[in-house]
């Protein structure tokens, strides 16, 4: 059973719809005990870093997530909260993946909204059967800076920045796979098949 963490702000329904389509069992919850027993965890992303960390604290989930050994997928904001810190609301994040989250600063529009290419830089189960330079759907104003060894895919929006990352059992995408059509469903399905 996959636990989708309900932190009162994410686009949880979209993720749930996608898992329905894939025929995967899931539960939407903020209950510590249920999440502890889940065999996978998804943290869907929308909202703000400060608020998300606050909600996780409130639900007593911070240590649980940090110490989990089951496959974990962070989406969008769910990628950013894995970092050490975020400039959004000056937030101290989970510190699972060393790195900082900064706001885009350029003449390009902010937020970045729309379909952008992901260049795959490393092989991973998560991106199995997904071609290089595939378009995924993005909506965000902040981006992660981290070490190359954690990066599976990168994207260009004025700067080149990581958009698929992985460390041990932690995976995350800056884009929304649940909103990226068939190829997004493929990525989610790859995650669901991880053990």
């Amino acid at each position: 059973m996959i636990a989708i963490i309900n932190y009162q702000a994410g686009n949880i329904t979209s993720v749930a719809n996608a898992l329905n389509k894939l025929g995967v069992d899931y539960v939407i919850t903020a209950d510590k005990e249920i999440i502890r027993k889940a065999d996978k965890i998804i943290f869907p992303g929308q909202g703000r870093a400060g608020q998300a960390i606050k909600e996780l604290k409130k639900a007593g989930l911070i240590d649980l997530i940090k110490n989990t050994s089951v496959p974990f997928l962070g989406i969008c904001l769910g990628l950013q909260i894995l970092a050490t810190s975020s400039d959004e609301d000056n937030t101290r994040c989970l510190g699972i993946i060393p790195g900082t989250v900064k706001k885009f600063s350029s003449e390009l529009k902010i937020p970045q909204i729309g379909w952008n290419k992901v260049n795959l830089t490393k092989r991973s189960f998560l991106t199995q059967d997904i071609p290089d330079s595939t378009y995924f759907y993005f909506v965000h104003s902040y981006y992660l800076i981290t070490e190359n060894k954690y990066i599976i895919g990168k994207t260009n929006y004025d700067i080149e920045y990581p958009t698929i990352i992985n460390k041990n059992n932690f995976y995350a995408t800056q884009f929304h796979p649940e909103k990226s059509g068939d190829v997004g469903l493929k990525l989610l399905n790859n995650f669901c098949k991880l053990c």
């Binding site: 719809n17 350029s106 260009n156 004025d158 068939d182 997004g184």
Partner: protein
């Protein structure tokens, strides 16, 4: 980094001065319009134009040429020289000139700058600071003031200035090295600073690029072939693979997709869930679902229908119509929408936009604006285009950006359903005014209309209904056409 080619016009010709000295003007071309076209073809996305006659005389002299240039290039145009009152500024901005540069008035009339920024926003008003050592030079560099640039900059910051073009006149046209000290100091104050004067070769550009400066204006070095413009563009170009979006719109009334002309004469076009799925499979980048009767009949958006659509659609999905409260938004998002569109309720209660973007994030909040031109100004209309408000559209877009809107869905009512093309001049003005994505709506008929909304209007996304519903054009045909015209789309 932006590299911006400069076109200085004197007596209708394209010239370069040396250290601002008019008697040392050297002519490079008889045709500034042609020059702008050439720069555009070489990859310029922004062009700097100075009406030197205007700068000298305090009023625009080469206006007709500048108007022709506007019609000849989609590049962002910034114009300076002789803009010293609101009327001249308005003439240029209404014409679709993206940004105007104010120089002399920084000394003589700071209030004008404040008024301009209040009226048009900081994105369209650039301050030109021409420096002689640390003093400001005005009147086409004919007069050095006693004003220190840094103390002036602090005042400019207070009135909302964002962009500054900084020219060191001792370096201008000298093909020496630019003086970076004032640039760094201005940047430290938080301005976006464009360097002008003294950029002599490609190595200087490389150096500026690595130091992450915002922009640089190239003049004499281009005309004297010291810098190859294409090379400079290639060197500084930022890669951006974000595609332009094609968004079919489903206007829904009584659970059916309908389409009207100028918001009236509604005809049936299909079932929302079926059409939505069809478009998603056909390559739509997003869907917009507007319950067009919701506001009028004071109904809440039909969450069950949203749910039905969302179950089968794995691309982003915006829902609008009758959304009046944070509670409504919560319900619609829970039903499966990714974003919500606020129109009438946002005008009547702007706080809603703020509350909603704070709670759900800006990315979630699309502000839909319906507008119509009345006596030279575009006004905001509410209640499905039935009620005119006193709000001018250029004021409203800036306000909603400040309130936290993530996107603007702009419909020109007079074009809606007419298939006569988008209102590209309006789009252009809005895109230069705010920095959030703009979705163009109203008027799509031919493939070229989409291209023009993106290239001439500057739209980030185009929304259409009739053209898709009645199988006039498929999404794929449209995307292939746009790609052929060098517009980045997802195919």
């Amino acid at each position: 980094m932006l590299v911006i080619p400069a076109i200085d016009i004197l007596n209708g010709k394209c010239v370069r001065l040396t250290q601002g000295n008019f008697s040392l003007a050297k002519k490079y071309s008889n045709n500034p319009v042609q020059m702008a076209k050439r720069f555009t073809q070489a990859g310029a996305t922004r062009i700097h134009i100075v009406d030197l006659d205007g700068a000298k005389s305090g009023k625009p002299i080469n206006f007709t040429l500048i108007k022709k240039t506007r019609q000849s290039t989609p590049a962002i145009l910034e114009i300076g020289g002789g803009i010293r009152n609101l009327k001249t500024a308005k003439t240029y901005l209404d014409l679709g000139i993206d940004k105007i540069i104010i120089g002399t008035s920084v000394i003589k009339n700071l209030k004008l700058i404040k008024n301009l920024i209040d009226k048009y926003g900081s994105q369209r008003i650039i301050i030109g600071l021409d420096l002689n050592k640390d003093k400001i030079v005005i009147n086409g560099w004919k007069k050095t003031s006693q004003q220190n640039y840094l103390s002036l900059a602090k005042k400019l910051k207070k009135i909302g200035t964002r962009e500054i073009i900084c020219t060191d006149i001792s370096r201008d046209g000298m093909l020496s090295n630019p003086n970076l000290e004032p640039i760094k100091k201005l940047q430290a104050l938080g301005f976006w600073v464009i360097i002008s004067g003294g950029i002599a070769n490609i190595n200087t550009i490389k150096k500026l690029q690595t130091q992450k400066f915002y922009g640089a204006i190239l003049g004499k070095a281009l005309y004297e072939n010291k810098i190859n413009f294409k090379q400079a563009i290639k060197l500084t170009k930022t890669t951006n693979n974000l595609t332009k979006r094609i968004i079919p719109c489903l206007d829904v009334k009584n659970n059916q997709v309908v389409k009207g002309i100028k918001f009236k004469k509604l005809t049936f076009a299909g079932d929302p869930a079926e059409l939505g799925k069809k478009y998603a499979e056909a390559g739509a980048d997003e869907l917009v679902f507007l319950d067009i009767t919701a506001t009028l009949e004071k109904r809440k958006t039909l969450c069950s229908m949203v749910q039905k659509i969302a179950n089968n659609i794995f691309i982003p999905f915006t829902v609008g119509g009758g959304i009046k409260s944070v509670k409504d938004i919560s319900a619609v998002l829970k039903a499966g929408a990714d974003k919500i569109a606020i129109n009438t309720a946002g005008v009547l209660n702007p706080k809603l936009i703020k509350q909603a973007s704070k709670k759900f994030g800006s990315q979630c909040i699309v502000v839909a604006i319906d507008t119509k031109k009345v006596n030279n100004d575009y006004f905001v209309y509410i209640n499905s285009g039935k009620t005119k408000t006193k709000l001018k559209v250029l004021d409203w877009v800036r306000q909603v950006e400040k309130l936290g809107a993530g996107e603007i869905l702009l419909t020109a009512i007079d074009r809606d359903g007419t298939k006569s093309g988008f209102d590209n001049n309006l789009l252009r003005q809005i895109c230069s005014t705010v920095n959030i994505p703009i979705i163009a709506s109203g008027g799509a008929g031919k493939l070229a209309d989409f291209k023009n909304a993106i290239i001439k209007g500057g739209a980030d996304a185009v929304l259409a209904a009739s053209i898709f519903h009645y199988n006039k054009k498929t999404i794929n045909t449209l995307k292939k056409y746009l790609k052929k015209n060098n517009i980045n789309v997802r195919i």
